[in-house]
C-alpha cells in the first residue's frame, strides 16, 4: 500500500462562521460556529458533551433530546446558530456534582429501564422536561406511554421505562 507524504491538512472546514453566545449547563459559552453545524454536533464535538447521543439525525428517535429554554428539543434538528441566546441543559447537568443520580436516573436504575444506554439520555431529558412542566402528571398507562412517544428504544421494550417514570414520580412526590 502506498504511504502518502503527510499532507498539510487544514484545521477546519472553510464554512462561514458566526459568533454565538449561549448558556450550556449553567456556563456561558461564546464560540464562532459553522453556520450549518447542528446543535447536537456543537454540544458533542465542540463542547465535549458527548452524553447527548445522535440516533437518526432526522428528529424521529429522540436520542439527541436536550432542554432548550426548559423545553425538550431535538438537538439534531436545531442548528447551533439557532441556539444563540438560549439556555441549554444536557444530560451532564442532571446528576449532582458528586455523581449522585437524579431521582429520574435513580428510577431508571432501580427499574432496569436501560440496556445499551444509547437512547437513555434523550429519554431522561424528555421525562425531566415533562416533570418540570407546571401541570399534573398523567401516570396512567396511556399517559406515560404518550409521555415517551417521542423516544425510540430498541433494547428494553419500554415496559421498564414506563415503570421508571412511575417510580420517579414516586421518588419526587408527584403521584
Amino acid at each position: 500500500m502506498k504511504r502518502m507524504a503527510k499532507p498539510s491538512i487544514p484545521e477546519r472546514s472553510s464554512d462561514p462562521r458566526i459568533d454565538v453566545s449561549l448558556t450550556v449547563n449553567g456556563e456561558t459559552i461564546h464560540r464562532a460556529v459553522s453556520v450549518r453545524m447542528l446543535l447536537s454536533d456543537f454540544l458533542r464535538h465542540e463542547l465535549g458533551l458527548t452524553g447527548t447521543h445522535v440516533g437518526c439525525e432526522h428528529g424521529v428517535c429522540g436520542c439527541c433530546t436536550v432542554l432548550i429554554d426548559g423545553k425538550a428539543g431535538r438537538s439534531c434538528l436545531t442548528l447551533a446558530v439557532q441556539a444563540n441566546g438560549t439556555e441549554i441543559r444536557t444530560i451532564e447537568s442532571v446528576a449532582e456534582a458528586d455523581g449522585t443520580l437524579h431521582p429520574i436516573q435513580q428510577a431508571f436504575k432501580e427499574c432496569h429501564a436501560l440496556q445499551c444506554g444509547y437512547c437513555t439520555p434523550g429519554m431522561v431529558m424528555n421525562i425531566l422536561a415533562r416533570f418540570e412542566e407546571p401541570y399534573p402528571l398523567d401516570l396512567s398507562d396511556a399517559g406515560v406511554r404518550d409521555m415517551l412517544s417521542g423516544n425510540l428504544c430498541r433494547c428494553t421494550g419500554y415496559i421498564n421505562i414506563i415503570a421508571a417514570v412511575r417510580r420517579a414520580a414516586e421518588l419526587l412526590g408527584r403521584t
Binding site: M4, S13, T50, G55, H58, V94, L114, Q115, C155
Partner: protein, 797 residues
C-alpha cells in the same frame, strides 16, 4: 456476605455511568486531530460503472483524501467468506469499494476523508459516476427462474446455496400419514436498527507500529485477527476496542464492513486518526439485514393429531452477498420442528441472491421464520382435524422423560448435532393457558362478538438453540491494592449487562459484592482469546468459563489465606471481601491475601511489607515462588460446549381486530420462558421484554420496502415503523427454570428468545379474531392493515 448473588435481582453496575451521560461510545472518544469520512454509495441496485471521476472531490477545500477501488492497493479484494460451507457454489462477498459493478443500492463506491463530516459529504457528492443500469429481479421466487437478471453474472439462476437435511425416514412417514396439512408462509425483510448506528475510529502510531481501532462491533477479537491478516501486522500490534456499544442484535458481528478496513487503512496512510460514523440512512442501505424466507411446510399426521413427519422446503433471501454463509438458513432448518417430537424430518432450502443489502443474522437468526412456519402449520392442522390448538401441541411435545432428544441427521449452525437437552414443555403450555385465561376465553370472545368486537387468542411455542461454541475464556484476578476482583472475557456487551451477571458468578465464589467485581471486555489488550457476542451465547459460554476460573481462584485464595491464618484450609471461609477463620473474628482481607501471594522485593504499602524478603512470613528455604507456582490470585480457564443447549418458551396473546380500520391491538401478552438457571431474573426479563417488542415490530410494522427497481423506499426511522412505547402492550413474563445438563451453571441463552414467537402469535390471534367473519388465514408477516383489508375483501366482507 453469605447471600448467594447468583439468581438475585441485582441492579446493574454499568447503569450510573450510562445514566449520567458518561458512556463512551465510539463517536464519544476524543481523538486529537481526527479526520472524518463519508461514502459515495450506489443509487442503483445493479449497474456497471462506466466512468468514475473524483478530481473535483479531491480539489474540494478541506478534503484530505478520496479513495476509489484504484486507490486502496491490496484491499481491493473480495472480503472474507466468514463461514464456509460445502453447499455453496462460488460464494460471493463484497469488495470494500465497488470495482466495475454495483450489486445493491447503498453499495460503497468511494470514500472521502476530510476535516469534518459535513465537508466529506459535500465532496462525496462531487464525485462523478456514469452508471449503466442493469435489470433486476426483486421477487425471490422469480429470481431463481432461468433467464432472471443475475445479481452476479457468474452465478446462474441467482442460486447461492442449496442444502438438504434429513432426520429419520420422512418419505415413509408421509406414506403412512392419515392426514397431511400443507401451507405456505412468508416473513419479510427487516433490520436490527440498533439505536447507535455502526461506528469506527482508528489511530496508527507510527513510532510503536501499533494500530488501535475503536469499533462498535460485537466481535473485536475476530476483527483484530482479520485486520492483522489484511495489514500483515502481528496480532499484538493491532488493538481493537469495542467500547460502549449502542445495541447490536447481530448487525454488528459482521466483518468486514467496508469502513472497518478502509478507516484503519486511511489512518495508517494519513498519519492522523480517522473515523466513520454511519448515519441512519446508511444503516438502512449499508448494514446487514435479515428475515425474508418463503416456506412450504407439510405435516404428516395421524387422526389423533400426532405429527409423524415434517417436510419443509424454503427459499432464503441472502441479499447481494453471502459473507456469513448459510448460518441463518441452517438455524431455520434445524429449528423447524420446534418443541415437537416429530421424528421424521426433511428440510431443504435454497439461498437466493437478490440485489439488496447482504443478509447476516439479526436477533432470532432464522428462528422466527421457522417458528412462524411450524406454528402456523400446527394451528392449521388443529383446525383441519377439529382439535384444540393447545391440545394438538400437548400431544406432540417432547416429554420430560424423553430428554436428551436427538434429531439425528440435523447439524446446527455450530456444526454439532441438534439434541434438545431439557425442558418442561407441557408445563409451560399449561402456565400460558392459565395466564391467558384460555379456558374462559371462548365465552369472553363470544360476549365481545355480540358487542361487535373481534377478539382472538394467539398461541405459539418455540425452541432456541443457544450457547454455541467454539469456546470462550475467563480471566479472574484479585487486585492486591483494593481487593477488588477483575474479570476479563473475550466478549463485548451491547446492553446485556455482562458486567453484572459475570460479577454475580464471581462474587459467590470469592465472597465479594458484585459491585466490587470489575468486568472488562471488548478490548483485545485486556483479553484476546475468544470469539464474539452473538447467538445467545454469552451467559452459557463465557459465564461457565468465568465460573470455572473463579473456582480456581477461590481455591488459591483459600490455600493462601489458610497459610496466613495458620489454620486448615477447611476452616477458612470467604465473605465480605476477606478470608475468615470459620466461627471466629479472625480474618485477613482479600487485598492482603493477594498481596502476600506475590513475593515482593519492594514494599509499596503496609500490606506489601509482609510480602518482602525479610518479612517474618517469608520463606528462606528455597525460591520465594516454588516451582510450578504463579504469583498472585489469578487464573484463566476456558469453556467449550459439547453442543448447543436448547431454551424454549410458550407465548400467547389476546388481540382485538377492528375489521373496519383493519387495525390490531394486543390486549394481553403472555410469555412463559425457560432459559435454565437464571443468573439475574431482572436482566433475563429485560432481554425477553426487549425481544418481544422487536418481535411485535416484526409481526405488525417493520418491513423494508424494496421497490421493483431495488431502491429502499423507507430508509429512515420516519418511514420504517419501529414500535414506540405506544405500540407495546403490558407483557406478563413467567419463568420456568429447567437446568441445562450441559454446563456447570445449568444455564441456557436468552438474548434472542423474546422475538422468536411473536409473529406466529399475532397471526394466530388475528386469524382467531376474524374466524367469525369467515375462513381467513394469515401466513405472512408483518401483518399489515392492507393484508387484513385484502383478506376481508376476499371473503366479501
Amino acid at each position: 456476605m453469605s447471600t448467594r448473588t447468583f439468581g438475585a435481582r441485582i441492579e446493574r453496575n454499568i447503569d450510573p455511568k450510562l445514566l449520567r451521560g458518561e458512556g463512551a461510545f465510539v463517536d464519544d472518544i476524543p481523538l486529537t486531530g481526527v479526520l472524518h469520512s463519508a461514502f459515495l454509495r450506489s443509487p442503483h441496485a445493479r449497474a456497471g460503472i462506466k466512468r468514475l471521476d473524483a478530481a473535483a472531490a479531491r480539489r474540494h477545500p478541506g478534503v484530505v483524501a478520496v479513495y476509489t477501488c484504484d486507490d486502496i492497493g491490496a484491499l481491493d479484494m473480495a472480503m472474507p467468506l466468514l463461514i464456509p460451507h460445502p453447499c455453496m457454489t462460488d460464494p460471493q462477498t463484497q469488495r470494500p469499494l465497488a470495482r466495475g459493478d454495483v450489486h445493491y443500492v447503498g453499495q460503497t463506491i468511494a470514500m472521502v476523508v476530510a476535516v469534518d463530516r459535513y465537508t466529506a459529504e459535500d465532496a462525496a457528492s462531487l464525485i462523478e459516476v456514469d452508471y449503466e443500469p442493469l435489470p433486476v429481479e426483486m421477487d425471490l421466487e422469480k429470481a431463481l427462474q432461468t433467464g432472471a437478471p443475475p445479481v452476479h453474472p457468474k452465478v446462474p439462476n441467482n442460486l447461492a446455496a442449496h442444502f438438504v437435511q434429513t432426520c429419520g425416514t420422512p418419505d415413509e412417514a408421509f406414506a403412512r400419514a392419515e392426514h397431511i396439512t400443507k401451507i405456505k408462509v412468508q416473513v419479510d425483510r427487516s433490520t436490527a436498527a440498533p439505536m447507535e448506528c455502526r461506528s469506527i475510529a482508528a489511530n496508527w502510531d507510527a513510532v510503536s507500529g501499533e494500530l488501535t481501532v475503536w469499533d462498535g462491533t460485537q466481535a473485536p477479537i475476530s476483527v483484530r485477527g482479520g485486520l492483522a491478516s489484511v495489514f500483515q501486522l502481528d496480532e499484538d500490534k493491532v488493538r481493537v476496542i469495542a467500547p460502549d456499544v449502542g445495541g447490536g442484535f447481530g448487525q454488528k458481528v459482521l466483518f468486514f464492513y467496508p469502513d472497518e478496513l478502509l478507516v484503519p487503512m486511511a489512518a495508517m496512510q494519513l498519519g492522523r486518526p480517522v473515523k466513520y460514523i454511519e448515519d441512519r440512512r446508511e444503516n438502512f442501505i449499508g448494514s446487514s439485514q435479515e428475515r425474508t424466507q418463503i416456506h412450504v411446510i407439510e405435516l404428516a399426521a395421524l387422526k389423533t393429531g400426532e405429527v409423524i413427519g415434517l417436510r419443509d422446503i424454503f427459499l432464503h433471501d441472502t441479499g447481494a452477498f453471502i459473507p456469513y454463509g448459510i448460518a441463518v438458513a441452517q438455524v431455520a432448518s434445524t429449528s423447524i420442528a420446534g418443541p415437537y417430537r416429530i421424528p421424521n424430518i426433511f428440510v431443504e432450502f435454497k439461498a437466493v441472491y437478490t440485489p439488496t443489502v447482504q443478509v447476516t443474522p439479526y436477533r432470532g437468526c432464522g428462528r422466527p421464520q421457522a417458528c412462524f412456519a411450524i406454528e402456523r402449520a400446527m394451528d392449521q392442522l388443529a383446525s383441519e382435524l377439529g382439535l384444540d390448538r393447545f391440545e394438538v401441541r400437548r400431544r406432540n411435545f417432547v416429554t420430560e422423560k424423553e430428554f436428551p432428544y436427538p434429531r439425528e441427521g440435523l447439524l446446527f449452525a455450530d456444526g454439532l448435532k441438534v439434541t434438545l437437552d431439557s425442558g418442561q414443555y407441557a408445563k409451560a403450555l399449561g402456565m400460558a393457558a392459565a395466564e391467558l385465561g384460555a379456558a374462559d376465553f371462548p365465552a369472553e370472545q363470544a360476549k365481545a362478538l355480540a358487542e361487535g368486537r373481534y377478539l382472538g387468542l394467539g398461541l405459539a411455542c418455540y425452541v432456541e438453540g443457544t450457547g454455541l461454541g467454539p469456546y470462550e475464556g475467563g480471566h479472574v484476578k484479585i487486585h492486591p491494592i483494593t481487593g477488588k476482583v477483575y474479570v476479563n472475557t473475550g466478549l463485548t456487551s451491547q446492553g446485556q449487562g455482562h458486567d453484572t451477571v459475570f460479577a454475580q458468578i464471581v462474587a459467590d465464589q470469592l465472597g465479594v459484592r458484585p459491585e466490587d467485581v470489575i468486568v472488562v471486555e471488548g478490548d483485545t489488550k485486556a483479553f484476546d482469546w475468544g470469539v464474539a457476542t452473538f447467538a445467545s451465547r454469552a451467559a452459557v459460554v463465557s459465564g461457565n468459563a468465568i465460573h470455572k476460573t473463579a473456582m480456581v481462584v477461590r481455591q488459591k485464595t483459600l490455600l493462601a489465606a489458610a497459610n496466613m491464618l495458620e489454620v486448615n484450609i477447611d476452616d477458612v471461609e470467604l465473605r465480605d471481601s476477606a478470608a475468615w477463620v470459620k466461627g471466629s473474628n479472625r480474618f485477613v482481607p482479600l487485598a492482603a491475601v493477594a498481596t502476600a501471594s506475590n513475593p515482593l522485593r519492594y514494599a509499596f504499602n503496609e500490606a506489601a511489607q509482609a510480602a518482602t524478603q525479610f518479612a517474618p512470613a517469608s520463606k528462606h528455604d528455597g525460591p520465594p515462588l516454588a516451582e510450578g507456582e504463579a504469583p498472585g490470585l489469578e487464573a484463566t480457564e476456558y469453556f467449550s460446549p459439547s453442543q448447543s443447549t436448547w431454551a424454549y418458551g410458550v407465548h400467547g396473546a389476546i388481540v382485538e381486530v377492528d375489521p373496519g380500520l383493519c387495525t390490531v391491538k394486543i390486549r394481553k401478552y403472555v410469555c412463559i420462558h425457560d432459559c435454565g438457571n437464571m443468573i439475574n431474573p431482572t436482566i433475563v426479563e429485560g432481554q425477553v421484554l426487549g425481544g418481544i417488542a422487536q418481535g411485535i415490530g416484526g409481526a405488525l410494522y417493520e418491513r423494508l420496502d424494496y421497490q421493483p427497481d431495488g431502491n429502499l423506499a423507507n430508509a429512515s426511522l420516519m418511514d420504517f415503523l419501529m414500535p414506540y412505547a405506544t405500540e407495546i402492550p403490558n407483557i406478563s413474563v413467567l419463568h420456568l427454570e429447567t437446568p441445562s445438563p450441559l454446563n456447570p451453571l445449568g444455564v441456557k441463552g436468552v438474548g434472542e428468545a423474546g422475538c422468536i414467537a411473536v409473529g406466529a402469535v399475532v397471526a394466530s390471534g388475528v386469524e382467531d379474531a376474524l374466524r367469525a367473519l369467515g375462513p381467513i388465514t394469515f401466513r405472512h408477516v408483518p401483518l399489515t392493515p392492507s393484508m387484513i383489508s385484502d383478506a376481508l375483501e376476499q371473503i366479501g366482507h
